[in-house]
């Protein structure tokens, strides 16, 4: 019966030779020992086998035949998906579902586990293990269901390399299978054209073309060339068609941007091509090393005797720990290696063979020395970080192995042509140029790697395994710091539990001795992962969801909650992300450098005693001493003891807060200091709503006032006629004063305090210290210095300024709501309508609330009377700002409570009542000002509620075509091994978390709009030759180009809101979720009345 199946479905067959000829796997049974070549020794495979091609392995055939029937459906599904990719999903108007049904998705997780396991085996060179594993999966029916053609292809690829593959095996093959088969034929010298022809014709029968092979397969090493060789054996002048299917962007918002480029002038970087290539090399070598060790800024602090002693002690122990871990790892691996590999359960062993043992140990040591805070870290987070680090290293090495690095260098070098100043002017975007270059350099491996992302569970399990090793093996003598103690070998890491509400959380805590050693040694070297450091060369442009940003370090286009994968499927399906990718690329091309004078001032304060007022965290020596008391001491009363205890807890909490703040600042400043003479770039990616973020985590322009102040554009531009004025206005904006003055008013104010400004610039720490009282003191100081330099230059209009000037959206969320709802009053208050003076919605709301209060006070409400004179812009600001982002009364009350507590004069006993009262008034006030807003919010919430109630996840598409899915799902628990199997992972299931889906939809939708607006602005600024970066709704550019940027910003806002955004959302939702759901239709009807009235 199986033979019948064979005839029907197997078009290509394979002879599967044993994967290791010499050893001759014993358990394979006699069936396949049919031919002489089964016993060929490994070395003999390299040649002379063209002749022996028939005789398919009966056994393999049989095995596969069994699977076929089951899998055909699945493979077809895969192929269907493949072909779907060609057609644009957005254009499809009927019931086609975007996300594969839920079943396939959970299955996807297992599949990717299996795939990564196989890949890991192959990478580690343990083909036998991979093979055995695949077989054991195959033998059991219910496990076999989880296999797919991709997994067989992995093995085929390997066999192809060894020229063992004679014909194709297995299931209904897809492109990858043919690719491997042909590659194998190409690799075989003198392969008979007849064989190749047969293969090609079978391919045709399957509806696949040779061109598809070249355009859609992912190649490693020289696979492509071998494939080409095979094809050319039969078609000598075959030339793969270049992949030129550049689909125009569908969104009307950017149609003109892509089609009419005549007057675009894309900016060039201020570097020669050679310089850029040089930078590329440095970045490449940094990423290849995966870690960077830099001097901490504390290096400047004087070294005490104790510090020297501690450093020696630490160094000594570190090398000892290294040895211990190395040994422990080897022993543990031996045990793992011996455990039955036929066992279907995933064994960590292959993952532990990916790198040198030494490298695993280094990763672990790095955790102890630098990433574990004294108060401990949750096991899950620690494990995830370790696992990710391992994955990154593995990816980088894999790229090296696949000969990608070389090709990348070639393409990048050619790519610099587009950016450098000494080359011709291009009218293409970076992404387009890169794609073009890839087509030109088509031979060799494909750059867009197909590396399987390790599923979250694998990452964490691997990390847990490593933590386990550390906890069990790392010891220290207990008398090392205090000789009075008994000498005992004690562990330096402890696995304990903390209890959070009703959950218990596994925690790893360092022994106080370790903490003390680390703190007292104040080591001057910091080791970071390479991606933490900004890039030394312009980032690789994003050309697809899988490729871009860093050179080798894998980066996700879209950040996500741990374990969520739904959005990846969506992105992969979505063919036209061009506009989104281009805007990310635009943000990434901005070059930066350090504002050195400011950095020096900050470091001097940092190394002195810090300053809470200026947001420079003080060193731990300034921390409160943890009071010591003996609970057994009978002289305390129980109230006193309780009090003391509370004090101890408070002090501990404070200390750990201070420590984390201090370390954060230390990292930021050290990185800045390391980059002080460099020019660098921040590659960008985005969150699931399309908000963009720079990838380096600590030091970037999104950070605090301090980090923003030490960053300036690398490129300088003259101030021009209005630049100086913009600098001054910018300064006033930074102070937080004059919120209700017109721009002219702010300028006049700046001019009236020029003396203070110059004094601040000249004597920042010893003068009148005007800058210290600004809202954003450090940026204000930097601005003072820039103004001082400009006014003192012979011609301020020609003064070259590197300074970024910010233009902040005035309550951006409300702006979008007001525009969506065509809310005139609301729009006026957030400056969407022309006005003489800038409107300030916060003051507006504060005023409104004050009116309510006065009325209530009149009528004798106690709390309203108490509040007299305390209602200010500041009190309501945060709540108003976050109302659009879905803050609840509860959260709003907490915000207001915080503000009220900051007011010293406000009677503390009324804080609760007052905040409760105020938040109610703020909500009422807003409702009166923004009528449309509330209605739109309600509509969105109701739609989301219905969608998630129906068991589906809320999805939509931004006007730029970015698909968005809300990643809120119920968590299901997955138990994992290691550490006494204590850790449980929560993995997101497919069931939506209704409450989150519903509450988050309005804010997420608005965020997706504001990110769209930012992207549009970025694109158009790029075409106008501007430097442009953004911090969400705050846009930065040179003083010279502020006016142009503002114009672009306004135009794009209008363009965006001229689109029928809500109409399209409604259509999308109806189309996707509905067909038949009366409620949603009702909602839509409501919507149409609400909007275009």
């Amino acid at each position: 019966q199986s033979d019948v199946l064979d005839v029907q479905h197997v078009k290509v067959q394979v002879i599967k030779a044993p994967s290791s000829g010499r050893g001759g796997p014993p358990g394979r049974g006699p069936k396949n020992k049919t031919q002489e070549k089964t016993d060929f020794p490994k070395s003999a495979h390299s040649g002379t086998k063209g002749a022996s091609k028939s005789q398919p392995s009966r056994w393999m055939e049989k095995l596969n035949a069994e699977a076929r029937a089951k899998e055909i459906a699945e493979v077809e599904e895969l192929e269907k998906r493949l072909s779907q990719q060609v057609s644009q999903w957005a254009s499809s108007t009927n019931s086609e579902r975007l996300v594969v049904d839920s079943d396939a998705n959970t299955c996807g997780d297992i599949q990717s586990s299996l795939r990564s396991y196989l890949e890991a085996c192959v990478f580690a060179g343990d083909i036998e293990r991979a093979h055995q594993f695949l077989l054991s999966q195959h033998r059991t029916m219910n496990r076999r269901k989880q296999l797919n053609i991709e997994m067989y292809n992995i093995m085929m690829r390997v066999w192809a390399k060894k020229v063992r593959l004679k014909k194709e095996a297995g299931l209904k093959p897809n492109l990858g299978s043919y690719c491997a088969a042909l590659e194998c034929m190409g690799r075989t010298p003198n392969c008979s054209p007849r064989v190749i022809n047969r293969c090609l014709s079978q391919m045709e029968e399957d509806g696949l073309s040779v061109d598809d092979l070249f355009s859609q397969c992912v190649f490693r090493q020289d696979e492509r060339d071998m494939l080409l060789r095979a094809v050319r054996t039969v078609q000598p002048d075959y030339q793969p068609k270049p992949n030129t299917t550049l689909t125009p962007c569908a969104s009307p918002l950017v149609q003109d941007f892509y089609s009419q480029r005549a007057d675009h002038q894309y900016p060039k970087l201020d570097f020669s091509q050679e310089e850029l290539q040089e930078r590329f090399k440095r970045q490449l070598s940094m990423e290849q090393a995966c870690t960077v060790t830099i001097d901490s800024v504390e290096v400047a602090m004087p070294v005490t005797e104790n510090m020297t002693k501690m450093r020696e002690l630490l160094a000594e122990h570190r090398s000892q720990w290294q040895k211990t871990l190395l040994q422990a790892l080897r022993e543990s691996k031996m045990i793992l290696a011996k455990t039955n590999t036929k066992d279907y359960r995933l064994n960590l062993y292959p993952y532990l063979c990916l790198l040198e043992d030494r490298e695993y140990v280094d990763i672990m040591i790095q955790v102890i020395v630098s990433s574990l805070p004294p108060s401990g870290e949750s096991l899950k987070i620690l494990a995830r970080d370790l696992g990710n680090r391992l994955y990154t290293k593995y990816c980088v090495q894999q790229k090296g192995r696949n000969q990608i690095v070389e090709k990348l260098s070639n393409i990048y070098n050619a790519y610099t042509d587009l950016l450098a100043k000494d080359t011709k002017v291009y009218d293409v975007l970076p992404r387009e140029q890169w794609c073009q270059l890839e087509t030109e350099h088509s031979s060799g491996p494909t750059l867009q790697g197909d590396e399987t992302h390790w599923p979250y569970t694998v990452t964490v399990e691997l990390g847990t395994y490593m933590v386990d090793l550390m906890v069990k093996n790392l010891k220290i003598n207990s008398d090392i710091l205090n000789p009075a103690c008994d000498r005992k070998l004690i562990p330096i890491l402890y696995h304990m539990y903390t209890f959070r509400s009703t959950r218990q959380v596994g925690f790893i805590k360092p022994h106080p001795i370790l903490t003390q050693m680390l703190q007292e040694a104040m080591e001057t070297k910091l080791t970071f992962d390479s991606y933490v450091i900004p890039m030394l060369c312009p980032p690789v442009p994003w050309i697809s969801a899988k490729f871009g940003a860093y050179l080798l370090t894998p980066t996700k286009l879209m950040r996500a909650i741990d374990g969520a994968t739904q959005h990846e499927l969506l992105l992969e399906k979505c063919q036209n992300l061009h506009a989104v990718l281009d805007s990310l690329n635009q943000l990434g091309t901005c070059a930066w450098r350090i504002n050195k004078p400011l950095l020096d001032i900050i470091i001097s304060i940092f190394n002195d005693r810090g300053s809470d007022k200026l947001d420079i965290p003080p060193p731990m020596s300034e921390a409160p001493k943890i009071p010591h008391f003996n609970p057994q001491d009978p002289s305390y009363t129980s109230t006193e003891k309780a009090h003391m205890k509370r004090e101890v807890i408070k002090a501990k909490k404070k200390c750990s807060e201070m420590h984390s703040l201090r370390m954060d600042a230390l990292y930021k400043l050290s990185i800045a200091n390391y980059m002080r003479d460099e020019i660098f770039w921040f590659p960008h990616n985005m969150d699931f709503r399309g908000r963009t973020y720079p990838c380096p985590p600590y030091f970037n322009h999104l950070g605090s006032d301090v980090t923003r102040a030490i960053l300036v554009f690398a490129e300088g531009k003259p101030l021009g006629p209005k630049g100086l004025d913009w600098l001054k206005i910018h300064l006033v904006n930074l102070t937080g004063l004059k919120k209700r003055s017109s721009l002219q008013g702010r300028l006049e104010y700046a001019n009236s305090i020029m003396e203070d400004i110059l004094d601040s610039a000249d004597n920042p720490l010893n003068g009148k210290k005007w800058w210290m009282n600004a809202d954003e003191p450090w940026q204000a100081l930097a601005c003072c210095m820039e103004i001082a330099n400009a006014v003192r230059s012979p011609d301020p209009t020609r003064f070259i300024s590197h300074f970024p000037v910010h233009q902040d959206g005035s309550c951006n969320g409300l702006q979008h709501y007001a525009a969506l709802g065509r809310d005139v009053i609301g729009a006026t208050s957030v400056n969407l309508m022309p006005c003489d003076v800038p409107q300030d919605v916060y003051s507006g709301v504060a005023q409104q609330v004050e009116e309510f209060r006065a009325r209530d006070a009149e009528s004798g409400l106690k709390i309203a009377q108490v509040l007299e004179g305390f209602i200010s812009r500041k009190v309501v600001k945060q709540t108003v700002m976050t109302v659009v982002y879905g803050v609840t009364r509860y959260g709003g009350r907490l915000q207001i409570e915080k503000r009220l507590k900051e007011i010293d004069e406000f009677p503390k006993e009324y804080v609760w009542d007052a905040s409760h009262y105020l938040v109610r008034q703020v909500f009422t006030g807003l409702k009166e000002m923004f009528t449309g807003t509330r209605e739109i919010q309600d509509w969105l919430t109701e739609s989301a509620r219905l969608i998630s109630k129906s068991g589906r996840t809320v999805e939509w598409v931004t006007p730029l075509g970015l698909p968005i899915i809300q990643p809120y799902h119920r968590m299901s628990l997955v138990h994992s091994g290691g550490l006494d199997s204590v850790s449980t992972l929560s993995r997101s299931s497919q069931r939506p978390d209704t409450v989150k889906q519903k509450n988050a939809f309005p804010p997420n939708f608005i965020h997706s709009l504001d990110s769209t607006h930012m992207m549009l602005t970025a694109l158009h600024c790029y075409s106008a030759g501007l430097t442009f970066v953004s911090v969400h709704d705050c846009f930065w550019t040179h003083a010279l180009t502020v006016d142009t940027m503002n114009k672009v910003c306004r135009e794009q806002f209008v363009a965006l809101h001229s689109q029928p955004i809500l109409q399209e959302l409604s259509n999308f939702l109806l189309h996707k979720y509905c067909t038949g759901l009366i409620e949603v239709i009702k909602c839509t009807r409501f919507y149409s009345t609400c909007l275009w009235h």
Binding site: T498, F499, T502, S638, Y910
Partner: protein, 453 residues
Amino acid sequence: MSTTVCRLVVLAMRSACCHTRGTRVCLRQAVFAPAGPQGSCAPGAPAPQRRAYSLDSLSSGPGRPTLGHISQQPRGERTSPSSALTHRNLSAVAVQGQRRPLCRYDFLDLGEVEENVRQAQACKKVRHFIVDPSLAQVVTQHLGPDLEDSKAAIFECNPGPGVLTRTLLNAGAQRVVALEGDKNFIKDLQELEGRLDGQLEVVHCDYFKLDPLGSGQLKPPVMYSDKLFTDLGISETSWTDDIPVKVVGIAPQRNERSMLLKMVYALFERLSVYRYGRVELNLFISEKEYLKLVARPGNMMHYRAFSVLWQMACDIELLHKEPWESFVVSSRQGVPVSKGKLPNDHLCLVRLRPRADLFSSGLTPSNASTLMLMVKQCLAKRKVKLIDRLNLWSPDSGGKLLSEMGMPEDILTGHVYPEEYRQLFQLMEKSQEFTQSWLYEEILENTQREGWA
């Protein structure tokens, strides 16, 4: 003469109360109606409006209430002087005509069941109520046996329409404090309070929200226990003294577990109400929570730190099981759905009486937090070896400790009895090695939060 009659009737009545569940109270009332005005049989000094009722001062002291009853003593119908206290000063009130006189022979009307149900269901929060008079009777019996002789005050948590309250008073409880968290019930309760003479005190307070961990101004029904106790004139007693307060009520379902944890935590540290002595809880808790509470070693699923601590601290007695349906609930959900493997068809009336010998042989309220830390760390997983956990505290000491305890080396944490944990702790207290360990100094995190699981 009349007194004798009365006494006889009372005796008959008591036995009726005790032995016939489900007798309609109104019937009994009808029986006693003729005897109604005999409150006048209690002449004496005028009663103070509100007595400062101090347990310490029961026999003597300034807080002692009116002495009027002494004159009643010769009447000989009381078994103890304290019981006299409650009943003897009624006539004065009656004379004043402001209050309805009440004595043990005079029963309060429990109200129409339908009306009580309606009131209970009107409650906005999800709560369970005792409305069935027979159920109230059962609870009252369990609080007995001799309510009128007991020195302990009874705190009734969230009485709602007050069916249990009245039943308690009818059974002769000397001092009932109704702690009601919902304003809507307060009025009726206060009205009742006004009609009585000090046997009932009504406080707008939610017992289960006493002593919040956060800071800020407190608004009733949230309050600190010291305010509550001071206002009621109850002063601190020694741990080994008699039970000063019996609490009766239904644990709120919403945060049953974390509330129980918070209470046992307070118990060990003698904080909150336990400052005032061995407060006895008589709580209705859900069956599944009860089963966890009394889970024994070896039951790896349900034997948790929570069970160990309660079993260590208290004598736990299951007094009564009542199906969920017998309670009136102020929400549509009613009977909870049991998701776990444990049955959950009943609410269980459980008595948690703190052991008088809890704080002896080395355990004190100040080192109890370390004991709790130990128990919680050990039982986070039940299938780990105890020796590993102990070695974490002090390397190499685990074996020594276990052999001293006479336990096998490979015993799992889930197989150790609460009493053994306590002994273990006592040994640790004596051992130098342990007290030197930094873990010993660790303070349980999350004490800030209410949820203390």
